[in-house]
């Protein structure tokens, strides 16, 4: 949570637990077999810039670029990256006071689009908290929801 993992070890699995309104973004280069997994909690770092400089991965706008650069540093190439997005659950609310999930998803999609990065797959919204796992040997990205059978996205 509020964190990011990368690896260039093809036998590794990157896992993040219980994404509720948070978003999980996985990126994977199938040739270099390197990848990253971000678990961001909030869309916009302007709410606390000091925090963003210490913990950039808490926020979508600072966490996404930091993850891409970390994966480039491991040999990942932008045009080869497969990008997937999970999370952004919402309460059953009418108004927007707690609507963090949807804003996390929108911020992620907007930033990827501005940077010319296509989204290969996504599974967002809903009322579930999801655990995700990126297998760096083959890029399989699995989603695990309590009480359901895990599936590949």
């Amino acid at each position: 949570m509020g964190d990011m993992l990368t690896s260039n070890d093809a036998s590794a699995n990157l896992v993040t637990y219980s994404l509720g309104s948070c978003v999980g973004v996985a990126i994977y280069d199938p040739i270099a077999k390197v990848g990253g997994l971000l678990h961001a909690m909030l869309p916009d770092s302007t709410i606390n810039l000091d925090r963003a400089s210490k913990r950039p991965f808490m926020f979508v706008d600072t966490g996404l670029p930091a993850m891409f650069h970390a994966v480039y540093a491991l040999g990942g190439l932008k045009h080869r990256l497969i990008v997937k997005l999970v999370g952004g659950a919402e309460f059953l609310d009418e108004k927007k006071i707690f609507r963090i999930g949807q804003r996390n998803v929108e911020a992620t999609k907007a930033m990827l689009e501005r940077n010319g990065v296509a989204l290969a797959a996504s599974e967002t919204g809903g009322h579930e908290s999801r655990t995700v796992r990126l297998d760096l040997s083959n890029g399989n990205f699995s989603v695990d929801i309590p009480g359901k059978t895990p599936f590949l996205l």
């Binding site: 219980s18 309104s21 707690f98 009322h127």
Partner: protein, 284 residues
């Protein structure tokens, strides 16, 4: 009443010891002096031993070990002693695996600790708040205690009925609980606390933690309501369909909370979660 019936069928509920009950009752009164607390603790061997063990643990860095409860309270302070008593009383049961909700071992206890800390944070943010921090902590800690009973009542068939109502009927988890077993976990939790003769202020907070009334506004239930929602968004949302809950947005607005407050609270939740995880992994 349905809630009582469900409670009667549930094994292994964490009934507070007489001493723990009296400490909880002290929360509602003004006579919370150290001598009263010492007298109560001395009558409970298990609690006394644990208080002394914690006080003599590395956490308090004492030069010489203490051997009496009165010394321990002097060093630890009331709040720390109270938290320990709550953990001893409720930690085991709330940390168990709740199959009816697909909640894994330890996950509801972590959610409870996080909601307890965040209830105190919300008290600080709502500037008009009159709520005592230990009362807020306690209410946050036991808000979901009714889930122990509801989980036990939810066999595979009933889980399926709940799932159908939530996933295809647009119901909240609470509404589905009422429709399928005749009571929800908030109501059942309140009923449990009343059975245990805990103060009415805690009963009310647990009863209303998913839908605190707008008028008259009940401060403690509103605080726990917000803390619970923030705990979910801040990374502790155990069980399936855990976001199928409704915020009472009118109450949140009446408390003067905006989306900016929510974001600031989510950052607090991150810090509180680190604190909780550190405490949970510390050797006892």
């Amino acid at each position: 009443m349905k809630a009582e019936e469900l409670i009667a069928k549930t094994p292994n509920l964490p009934v507070p010891s007489p001493a723990a009950t009296r400490l909880l009752q002290l929360l509602a009164g003004d006579d919370r002096d150290n001598q009263a607390i010492i007298n109560i603790l001395k009558q409970d061997g298990v609690l006394s031993t644990k208080v002394l063990a914690l006080c003599n643990s590395a956490a308090f860095e004492l030069a010489a070990p203490v051997s009496s409860i009165s010394q321990a309270i002097m060093y630890m302070g009331y709040e720390e002693v109270h938290r320990l008593v709550m953990a001893v009383t409720f930690g085991g049961a709330l940390g168990s695996n709740l199959a009816g909700y697909f909640i894994e071992d330890g996950a509801l206890w972590r959610h409870s600790l996080l909601t307890a800390l965040l209830s105190q944070t919300v008290v600080r943010i709502v500037r008009t708040s009159q709520t005592d921090p230990s009362v807020a902590y306690t209410a946050g800690l036991i808000h979901d205690i009714g889930k122990l009973v509801v989980s036990y009542a939810l066999d595979a068939d009933k889980q399926e009925l709940i799932r159908e109502r939530v996933e295809r009927g647009g119901r909240s988890l609470l509404e589905a609980e009422r429709e399928v077993i005749g009571a929800d976990h908030a109501e059942v939790g309140a009923c449990l606390l009343r059975k245990w003769k805990l103060p009415e202020v805690l009963v009310e907070a647990v009863a209303n933690h998913h839908n605190p009334p707008v008028e008259p506004r009940l401060e403690l239930s509103s605080i726990v309501h917000v803390a619970d929602m923030i705990a979910h968004e801040g990374g502790s949302s155990p069980g399936w369909s855990s976001y199928a809950v409704r915020t009472n947005e009118a109450v949140v607005e009446a408390m003067g909370l905006t989306t900016d407050h929510v974001e600031v609270l989510i950052i607090s939740a991150y810090d509180a979660a680190l604190q909780v995880d550190e405490a949970l992994s510390a050797p006892v």
